[in-house]
Point group: C2
Chain length 281, copies 2
């Protein structure tokens, strides 16, 4: 798989790059950002995946996330994929910011006209890890995952379904129960159809109720987040955890909103927390 370098820049002693490649899953050219810290020749570094939210590309967290200093300190490769397939051939719903391009919801769509290209689950779970392994100095035995909002949903569901692959899971202001909130009902209904049984594997709360487990989950949620009450509903996850007697750290952060001003405040703590899990032998 040929990787094209879109841009590279030295930053915090390492290299922040943007790369693109033809994806067999999405049938499109896909773009992602990767930060590789300074490291010894031959050294293989752990990987932290960051899944972005609605309307975002690889670029939002790359520009505003403030993760490079702490990833350099802990020598962790940081991968930021795009949030959907792109291109003129890809069906879209241009008037809707929360569906179509920029809103892949980390599912493999089964409904038309979305099923051909909207395969972000398989892209993140299967295809992109191989491309990362082939092109970067990484140790895929040491992976963790995080994300924001729709990407927090992605991190939780991909992390829970693949608990053996990810040593730790964190999220910023995640959608925790898409089956129960407007953003999720709209996206899952149109990508996956009306049979809600098909939605379950894309819903962190439903997965946990169904038995999915992970012993290292950290979530930060701002109390001044305009989406908290209607779309995020962190309490649904807290209830599910309590019902199944599963531990996770959920921190309500006083006065913080949904923006990168919030994410960048706590990302250093998240990376340091993941680093502990990633360092274990």
């Amino acid at each position: 798989m040929a990787l094209e370098t879109v841009s590279v820049a030295r930053s915090h002693g390492g290299v922040q790059g943007v790369y693109s490649h033809a994806s067999s899953e999405t049938g499109t050219q896909m773009t992602f950002a990767a930060f590789v810290p300074e490291h010894a020749a031959g050294e293989k570094l752990p990987v932290l995946w960051y899944l972005s939210g609605l309307t975002c590309t690889h670029a939002n967290v790359m520009e505003k996330g403030e993760y490079r200093a702490v990833c350099a300190e802990h020598r962790i490769v940081f991968i930021a994929p795009d949030t959907s397939p792109r291109g003129d051939d890809v069906p879209d719903s241009a008037e809707e910011y929360d569906f179509g391009k920029g809103a892949g919801f980390y599912v493999d769509a089964t409904e038309q006209p979305w099923a051909e290209h909207y395969r972000m689950r398989s892209y993140i779970e299967r295809e992109l890890p191989g491309i990362i392994a082939d092109n970067f100095p990484v140790d895929l035995e040491r992976q963790s995952i995080t994300g924001h909002s729709m990407g927090g949903h992605g991190a939780l569901t991909i992390g829970l379904r693949n608990y053996e692959r990810f040593r730790s899971i964190s999220a910023f202001s995640p959608i925790v129960a898409p089956s129960q909130v407007p953003w999720g009902e709209k996206a899952l209904g149109r990508y996956l159809g009306n049979d809600r049984r098909a939605w379950q594997e894309y819903d962190a709360v439903a997965l946990i109720k169904d038995g999915a487990r992970h012993d290292r989950i950290l979530i930060d949620q701002g109390t001044a987040d305009d989406f908290l009450e209607e779309q995020l509903q962190t309490h649904l996850l807290e209830s599910a955890l309590s019902d199944v007697q599963m531990d996770a750290t959920i921190r309500m952060q006083d006065g913080y909103d949904h923006s990168y001003f919030f994410i960048s405040t706590f990302i250093a703590e998240h990376v340091a927390w993941h680093a502990k899990a990633l360092r274990e032998q």
Copy 2:
């Protein structure tokens, strides 16, 4: 002077705001960003000014600068003004990224049609400090200044002309001798006219040759900066410093370019360095 709040968000324990106000200097509505760290009631904090480069607004450094963590740590207010007057009434040269809007060069223009609105020198030197003092918990006895590229030129020239106001001056990839490089010759020629004697107070190298001094100057310049050879020419400042036997710290940073990936790498060191000067009684 009424200050309008454009936006506020909690970040790194403090508040990142964007504000606008009617400016008597530029005759336009001006916008700036201000980060105020958490602080004790009644506490007055020192101020670090950040002047941005060509094409930028207040927003570029606010989004990509990664200054909030370190400003919160040292309890320093960070002010990021715009780079020119804005609005439909303001003359512009829309095809040119390096002249007109977004390219005020921190001068008071004397030529037409620029003279009425392009008064960024007086705006930064005289008007905005009063607005900051009236609206934020600051101690204007403790100020320092920094900037990037065209804003590095602004920081150096405003800092050198007002050495008693600024305890320390730093810059990222500054234009050090605008009178001798294409960006500067174009801008100074059109804003100030062809008599080069009028350019001198807007040229750091010329100011130093003419006797301006400051004992705390720190400059970082990337060696992979595409503008280094033609526009920035750091060696002209090094020569001038050597000629007058003036000390300054100029660090050539191996492999870094002109972008915020570079600035964000070193801004924590700059803020910590300014903090030392700002803490002195």
